[in-house]
Symmetry: C2
Subunit: 542 residues, 2 copies
């Protein structure tokens, strides 16, 4: 929500959702903004046409605008269908009242006169009110060909006519005019005939040094153009390949809503026109046909569903939680493994424990090497330092292992001489392989499944030990339990959790990438389980 | 748009956007669905309260519902504020008419009676109509404590009362009741006192084998519960930590809208309740205060802005295009480098060309090795095959280099003996380093900047050669130009482009990841430029 700007649309409602305030609000949302609205008229419509209109009383329009502006700090405003002269006047009155003493934010006026399906959406007598009272307040107006013809009483049949009309409209909308050419077809030749004082921006028409892209893409026959005329005298033609589609219901609403978003964000009118026309164009291109007539655009091409929720007070570690609960049964089998339970009750055969410690000693060599690989793959000193710290921790951990072994009558020489079991090789080499295959985050997933797992096992044995039937006093493995539940190891666990959580925030994974992480996590959990099982098998105590 | 389901909300409008159809449509959008709406009443309101209400005529409500349902295939419906008895009857009439002969999709009824700010939103006489005529049609009703008290004429003061009320409401809404407990505070002890036939789901309250997470997170004092009672007799209590927030305007609308999304997607009522309450809860938790009173939730926590647009007919290669135009000036300096221009005009000193070919020969050894590394990092046979194919292509390319050298009087032995220049080492080792550091996609970016760059240079020299002042006839470097603009190399270029585009679609990069790719691309472009410059410097012709 941080960064969301508050926008206001003053327009009609389209029950079918493709146009009107519905298209505005959907565009605002898709572009990451917060939308408010004042309804001027309700329509009962669908993709085939407008079945009925219910005008909203002018004083109620004013009341809606005041309710919004009195309470919220609005960063940009757009107007759409204003219905009739009285409602247009009410809109102007409310805006003028509110912004009598302070600067009005950017205002975009889409002079909606006729729907895509041909239904009249503005009473003829309202046209003059809009031109004389509303246009002077605007940052930008966005008429289509038909509306420009109505406003100027001219006929537009060519690209040159459009440029002339756009410039003529500046007499009424003094800051900028974006004349939409969706109802006119041009060619590349038309573009080349434009006078030199008209700038041409080609979008979806490959530019300089993009011949390898053009070579593999179809060359567009027909071009659609929008013309932007600004008060400073500059004229820009935005050209794109024409799309053959019936999904054009609400194109004008979407464009003016996207313009409003860009202007609220501080964009220049030209940059706003570039991004908003591109957004709208993509909306038509990626639409799936809906309804029997002119269906809506796809407004959601600009957003993706997040695969990891944001961290919050109640869920500080959403990624770790997802990984742990991704295969909760497997995770539980690992944490509550028979080996762990026997260790907790102090009845684990010494031979199993010694075998485990010896193999863990070998495993930790892989682990330290994998951290070395992590350091080699890191591209910042803090990351290198963190990987090195983990190696230092491991070196301390193996000192503990040597002490354990001495206590259990295993010499340092015997420890070194012990042959590596297949379970150890499998897990150790898997770490190295992930380190070779993927990026540092993927390697961290493999390393932290082990780090976090032992932390969880440590707490599971220590917390509510009595309730769980575990003994701490006189448990021969007490030291092992204390080590993994103790502050030193648990601090490393916390840092590990915070590291992967920070990665997921800085570089949110796609669903595919999260699935990859989950696969690594689950694989490590299975390998950990195999490690416990190996230790039990050595005494046939499984 | 593929995968978007069409939903209908029949509810009131909230000018301030936090509740009503605005909250519904925002929720539908954020959860990836397409929303339609039938307006029952307009409110002029903001975060401090409701300033005015304009009821919509009942026949116009029916018309809106018919316009939507006659044209669009609606996957789920929700009702919110119905305003009065006539409008409630109109809603029921329209739904019954439309679904007289066919099955109604899931219907969620949020029995909105009173606003968060205390404003009555449903005329008292409408309550009975809603209970007797609308409830029987529903999949689920979602009253809050106050509404349940009104509907049942009871007082609810405890978690046990909530369970009783939820079960009692099943007499009216025969399929399922989700009784919202936002206005009631419970404790963990209350949860533990619930009878065994009540299932408790704890969300944001860490579960089994998550002690390392719980150890580092605050333990919630107060709990908020929602109670789901289903026709099959099952009762589920959904418990979460209570959030201390004023951003609760539109909570009920958001919840019922999220339920509608989940049910439209085929979820069970229980799964829908779990995901919708989680979505709403996160909306409150991640909200930023807006307005002077009860502000809206953050509906956008579930979505992220895409950093690469989807491929379309007019823009088939959006990622490659972004990379090329990310630093267009640098890309142009590389493609149109003096070395290339002199080569195109046939005036490049032979010594420069020979030096270039000799160094490129060494560089290609790195390139082949980097492809070997790519094969080693790949986790599928097609990926391994593709990396191997590139090595095969490189081996063919070096055969050409040997032939060139022979033509220019350089023996194979001299070619092998040539010392590697720093520019070659820099570029070659950079490829190996990226291969060590990152995942396969990052390595592909490094490999393809070179592949695509030579493809672009080849076409730039060949296409419109005369216009650009290049000569092909009698050009001593004709063979080089033909090779890189020819079908064999250009096919490899096309495959390269399609490979990285497919990666961006399968695993859409976050902005941070795209920035990393762009950095690799730009770095390679600079190293390529350095390679040309090195060749010119050898003859002092730069």
């Amino acid at each position: 929500m941080a960064g969301q700007r508050t926008l206001l649309t003053i327009a009609g409602s389209d029950s079918s959702g493709g146009a009107g305030i519905q298209a505005d609000l959907r565009t605002f949302t898709a572009l990451g903004n917060y939308g408010t609205s004042a309804m001027t008229a309700l329509t009962a419509q669908n993709t085939t046409g407008v079945q009925a209109i219910h005008g909203v009383p002018p004083e109620f329009i004013e009341q809606q605008i005041h309710s919004v502006l009195d309470d919220l700090d609005v960063h940009a405003i757009k107007t759409g269908m204003l219905f009739d002269a009285e409602n247009t006047k009410a809109t102007v009155r409310a805006l003028k009242t509110h912004y009598s003493a302070r600067a009005m934010p950017p205002l975009v006026c889409d002079p909606v006169c006729v729907s895509t399906s041909g239904h009249t959406l503005l009473a003829p007598e309202a046209l003059e009110v809009m031109m004389n009272e509303l246009f002077p307040l605007t940052t930008l107006i966005t008429p289509n060909k038909q509306e420009a013809e109505l406003l100027l009483s001219v006929t537009i049949t060519s690209l040159e006519d459009m440029v002339d009309a756009g410039r003529a409209l500046l007499a009424h909308a003094p800051r900028a005019v974006l004349l939409k050419g969706g109802h006119l077809t041009a060619t590349l030749a038309d573009l080349n005939r434009l006078p030199p004082d008209v700038r041409v921006v080609r979008d979806g028409l490959y530019g300089e040094n993009m011949e390898i892209l053009a070579a593999n893409a179809p060359r567009p026959e027909n071009i659609v153009v929008d013309v932007l005329c600004e008060a400073n005298g500059s004229t820009t033609v935005l050209a794109r390949p024409r799309i053959d589609s019936t999904s054009t219901h609400g194109t004008g609403c979407t464009l003016s809503a996207a313009l409003t978003c860009a202007l609220a964000g501080g964009a220049t009118v030209l940059d706003a026109a570039l991004s908003a026309t591109a957004y709208t164009h993509l909306g038509i291109q990626t639409a799936v046909k809906l309804g029997a007539g002119h269906g809506p655009l796809n407004h959601l091409h600009s957003v993706a569903q997040m695969s990891v929720p944001p961290p919050t007070l109640g869920n500080s570690y959403p990624l770790t939680r997802l990984l742990m609960s991704g295969n909760a049964a497997l995770w539980k089998e690992y944490v509550e493994h028979d080996f762990v339970q026997q260790l907790g009750r102090g009845v684990l055969p010494r031979a199993s424990f010694v075998h485990f410690i010896k193999q863990d000693y070998h495993y930790l060599k892989y682990y330290a090497r994998a951290c070395g690989l992590l350091a080699a793959k890191s591209d910042s000193f803090p990351q290198i330092a963190s990987a090195t710290q983990t190696i230092t921790n491991v070196l301390r951990e193996i000192a503990t292992h040597r002490t354990f072994c001495a206590e259990f009558g295993v010499s340092a020489e015997e420890l070194e001489r012990t042959k590596e079991s297949a379970a150890t090789t499998a897990y150790g080499c898997y770490l190295m392989d992930i380190g070779l295959q993927g990026d540092t985050t993927k390697l961290l997933m493999a390393l932290f499944a082990c780090l976090l797992g032992y932390g969880e096992v440590g707490l599971w044995l220590k917390n509510s030990a009595t309730d769980r039937g575990f003994v701490l006093e006189d448990n021969p493995y007490r030291r092992w339990i204390d080590d993994y539940s103790g502050p030193l190891y648990q601090t490393a666990v916390r840092i590990g959790i915070e590291t992967i959580e920070a990665r997921a925030v800085a570089d949110p994974p796609s669903p595919a990438r999260l699935a990859e992480w989950q696969a690594v996590w689950d694989r490590c959990t299975r390998l950990e389980k195999g490690f416990w099982s190996m230790a039990l098998e050595v005494t046939g105590n499984n």
